[in-house]
């Protein structure tokens, strides 16, 4: 898994690629919580190049969302591949996270 932190039109974006599993999710957790510590009003996670996610990856996002909500921030997901979307839907988390088609849709909301 690779995790890059960047900016899109003044918004914090975490771009992920590769496989998010029990091995890589602790790294992801550390990066996300590091970003969240600065309380960005909007945090977008871009899944464009994510090929796999397991329950430990999902748990990392659920935990991160709780932190973001605690300071009334927003956490948005963009460009989820269908295979990843299916996992969020099955887990009934597609209604919990704010899921957007792409980065432009995310920033326009």
């Amino acid at each position: 898994m690779n995790c890059e932190i960047g900016d899109y039109k003044g918004n914090m974006v975490v771009s992920l690629s590769g496989e998010v599993d029990m091995h890589s999710s602790p790294v992801l957790r550390e990066k996300l919580l590091g970003v969240i510590k600065n309380k960005p009003p909007r945090l977008i996670v871009n899944f464009k190049d994510v090929s796999y996610i397991d329950s430990s990856g999902i748990a990392t996002f659920v935990e991160s969302l709780k932190h973001v909500k605690a300071y009334k921030g927003r956490m948005q997901f963009s460009e989820l591949p269908q295979s990843i979307m299916d996992i969020f839907s099955f887990s009934k988390l597609d209604k919990v996270f704010e899921i957007c088609g792409d980065l432009d849709e995310a920033v326009s909301r």
Binding site: E19, D21, M22, H23, Y52, D54, S55, S56, I58, A59, T60, V62, E63, S83, D86, I87, S89, F90, S91, K92, L93, V96
Partner: protein, 140 residues
Amino acid sequence: MKNSVTLKIQSHPRYLSMIRDVTVRFCIICGLDEETIGKIKLAVDEACSNVIKHAYHGDTSKEIVVKYGFRQKKISIIIEDSGEKADLEKIRGRDLDDVRPGGLGMHFIRRVFDLVEFDAKKVKGNRLLLIRRAGGKDEL
């Protein structure tokens, strides 16, 4: 030994990707469709993650054995460890409406396999038996 593969790996999360790769290759050989293969890959990964977390309590020096078999259009996957006996209550999985970190692994396993059973006869450690019939359950 007909139509079977055995994989023995160290209980380190870095090797889970190898288990996923072998699982996918075996399922392709068995002629399963892409969607089912994706679900089986996730389920086997979750079962092995459970072994590392719950049976071995994060000890990465132990052994996990994964046995794949395909007979009479039925795929069977057996996952063995020598760790602590599975506490079914601990790995049962949370209510999907109860949004909190964790508790999804068993749901991913049960959604694709027709049989999910721990072998009560195994004296030390766990033997998890996963079976999926051809055209088996499909909840998505």
